[in-house]
Amino acid sequence: MNYPDDRRYTKEHEWIRAEGDNGTVGITHHAQQELGDIVYVDLPKVGARIEQGKSLGSVESVKAVSDIYSPVSGEIIEVNEALAQTPEKLNEDPHGAAWLVKIRLSAPDEVKKLLSAADYHAYVGAES
């Protein structure tokens, strides 16, 4: 699997693509594969304040429910509302159209400490 190098990754299998003070957050291909057929996506409301490492929502598949941990701290400025109606998009395009939320970063330096694409790839390669 190709993990795009325009973003950073967490060991909990989220990604964030930062542009200036804002970042787009999603879950990785590896995460969707582990979960299998996704049936629900629960996301926070716009305006919610989120802390790095804390739950920002959950993804539920036929098999299991899994928390999404925020890769950064900040405020939710946009939510991918389409996922409520089409949660299966998370299986199909987790790195693209099925992003989860956009966050205004309160501590942009947090991003730099996350895993690079190569490091994440090595991490999931070793894990599986």
Binding site: D37, V39, E60, S61, V62, K63, V65, E127
Partner: protein, 369 residues
């Protein structure tokens, strides 16, 4: 995920890995949970045919002049009523009435019974049966001698018949026969854990990879898919078949589990009978019942169930039902409340979500000719 070196593997482990299956720890066994995808595999079984490796299941053979008496004494169903070549779902109970395991009993001959038991319970079952053996019978732990494959779905028969001279259509539901499959001796049973027609075959472990591949090849024209434990779970749940560790365990008896049909109180003494007879007379405390979610959410194993706001029971299994496009589950409720049409609330991650008890099974296949 770091995996313990002590996980047991079936003879098909390398085959699963080569097919790209996602492997998980299932009760100490490294088993495929899915290949192409749970829902995809689920539909393959409902509409065509799926192939499962269930070699982790255990086998116990009981032989001897009083083999039937021993089986009848340790199990709840009437082993004495079985004909040669017939199989029966049954329960192994403790004296207090709780489940040691649920099992399939096959009568091979008057002096030979073949038991298929749950993987994680096999040693416990063996000890339990041996401990109760005051009969002229020998209890043999046979799991190492068998691999088991399940060919399930409406096109299972047409798949398997390409590989055997046995007239499969003549094997009735819950009957079996011994014959050749892919040139190797097999016990061929018309049983399953999916709610579909199909077969479970028991073969020598060394033959399993070859037979597996030949079944996949034979079923290719029908769209056969290798299926993992994920689909096995949604299929059995739709058909309301119990799973040990969920619907049944040591603290649950078969009457509570809505399995009264496998309890034959009139057959004579068996382990657990006095407690069950008393419960039947005095009434049950709790009972298993099916439910459907009405609100948004999935009631999963272990979630609390409330009645009118007060804690009243727990979910034993819950999942989206791919065949039904609804979220279904099974739960224990106080026996007096376990009736169809009761509004309940399932606590889904600290939120009460509305649900309603429904009749089961959730899914029933159309009767074939």
């Amino acid at each position: 995920m770091p995996q313990s070196v002590s996980l047991k593997r079936t003879p098909l482990h390398a085959v699963h890995v080569s097919l790209g299956a996602r492997m998980v720890d299932f009760g100490g066994w490294e088993m495929p949970v899915q290949y192409s995808g749970l829902v995809d595999e689920h539909y393959a079984v409902r509409r065509a045919v799926g192939l499962f490796d269930v070699s982790h299941m255990g086998e116990i053979e009981i032989r001897g002049r009083e083999a039937m008496q021993l089986v009848d004494y340790v199990s709840t169903n009437a082993a004495a009523k079985l004909h040669i070549g017939q199989a029966q779902y049954s329960g192994l109970l403790y004296e207090h009435g709780g489940f040691v395991d649920d099992i399939l009993v096959h009568k091979v001959a008057d002096d030979h019974f073949f038991l298929c038991v749950n993987a994680s319970n096999q040693e416990k079952d063996f000890d339990h049966i041996r401990g109760a053996n005051r009969f002229d019978a020998v209890v043999d732990f046979a799991s190492d001698r068998y691999a088991q494959l399940a060919i399930q779905g409406p096109l299972g028969l047409r798949t398997l018949e390409k590989l055997t001279p046995v007239d499969l259509a003549r094997i009735g539901y819950y009957w079996f026969t011994d014959g050749m499959v892919s040139g190797t001796p097999a016990r061929i049973a018309r049983t399953g854990y999916t709610g579909e027609d199909g077969f479970e075959i028991y073969i020598a472990p060394a033959e399993a990879p070859r037979v597996w591949n030949e079944i996949l090849e034979a079923g290719r024209e029908f769209g056969i898919k290798p299926c993992g434990l994920g689909a096995r779970n949604t299929l059995r749940l739709e058909a309301k078949m119990a799973l040990y560790g969920h619907e049944i365990h040591a603290s649950i008896n078969p009457l509570e589990a809505d399995l009264g049909w496998i309890v034959k109180l009139d057959k004579g003494d068996f382990i657990g009978r006095p407690v069950l007879a008393k419960q039947k007379e005095q009434g049950l405390r709790r009972k298993l019942v099916g439910f459907e979610m009405r609100g948004r959410g999935i009631g999963r194993d272990g979630y609390e169930v409330r009645l009118d706001g007060a804690p009243a029971g727990w979910v034993t299994s819950g999942s989206p039902a791919p065949s039904l496009n609804r979220n279904i589950g099974l739960c224990y409720l106080p026996a007096g409340e376990a009736r169809v049409g009761r509004k309940i609330e399932v606590m889904v991650r600290n939120q009460a979500v509305e649900a309603e008890t429904v009749s089961t099974p959730f899914y029933k296949r159309a009767k074939s000719a």
